[in-house]
Symmetry: C2
Amino acid sequence: MPLGKDYDRQDCALARALEVVGERWTLLVLRDCFFGVRRFADLRAHLDIPRAVLSDRLATLVDAGILERRPYAPGRDEYVLTEDGLDLWPALFSLARWGDRHRVGPGGGRRRFRHADCPAGGADLAAGGVCPACGTLPPPAALETRALDPDEDDGTRPERDDAVSRALRRPHRLLTPLP
Amino acid sequence: MPLGKDYDRQDCALARALEVVGERWTLLVLRDCFFGVRRFADLRAHLDIPRAVLSDRLATLVDAGILERRPYAPGRDEYVLTEDGLDLWPALFSLARWGDRHRVGPGGGRRRFRHADCPAGGADLAAGGVCPACGTLPPPAALETRALDPDEDDGTRPERDDAVSRALRRPHRLLTPLP
DNA sequence: CAGCCCAGGTTCGGTCATTGAACCTCTGGC
DNA sequence: GCCAGAGGTTCAATGACCGAACCTGGGCTG
């Protein structure tokens, strides 16, 4: 946990957010949840995260009311974003967009987010997560994401080959279960 | 650095952003830079961050082109946000806003951000950093921040008493030097 | 129903980051 | 010459993270 015992000495909303969401891996786990990944094994395969750490992060997020854990079969649980979790979307999108624009370098995996349910026809999201066509801030469920076309992407890294990564190359509506 | 050696195995813009900005303390340092804090000693006093860690984070941020280090007197340096750094504003604001709304609990220090240069009169920023009055996404330099009035704030913690904390209780234009 | 597999963990030593305290160095002022 | 303050670095101790190995409980297969 970032700041640890210093938590209550920081008089700042940002510090309180980072207390839950600022640990290593946590935001990447949440990104996957927005993409529609719901199961422990899929998160592990997609992120290459140590089991113990993933276990710990999921517990923290459930505790904080950001994820909900629910059985989908006897003995099997899945993790789904709550209302509070869904509200993290603008923050997550803004950070990813910044990474996309300023740290291009040697890593592909760039993607676009389009307002699929847009009354004005839809367009790729602009800064802040705003749809430039209709001017609103669409909720994640109204968005479709897809990888950049190979000719737009200058990444030269080998692509990942787990089920989630493969599914995410094709257009995909956010929050729809993956893979 | 989050993810460390796994950096190049993550095909994701978010991972690349977190590589620079996801370490403990880094976002809090940047928040202070947006507020107008520029000097090592002021950051230290305001954040209660260990010297070695602050030193390391500042070096990383300068390396990444997010901060610029420049002398303001012989032997004295200050740190100022670059263009790339300023572009982090929507992400920072969104996270702080989420913390403000979902993790209220036992910590005051809540604040509002108003579009001071708004042609439509200005209003507190809404989700994504958008000004609800004019519908644009104002740059940080166009914003004024102030602490919530005591009756709006349910924080019961003792207030901090360093120069930066004191200055930030009064209305303050972002990026204007503090304290 | 014995035996196996799979999802979703926990446990465990080794390694790496963070912490707080102490020490260093340069500049300017008296 | 001496001191103070800014902006560091160094160090031992603590805590987080890592990867590998082990555990558990339900379903399937024969």
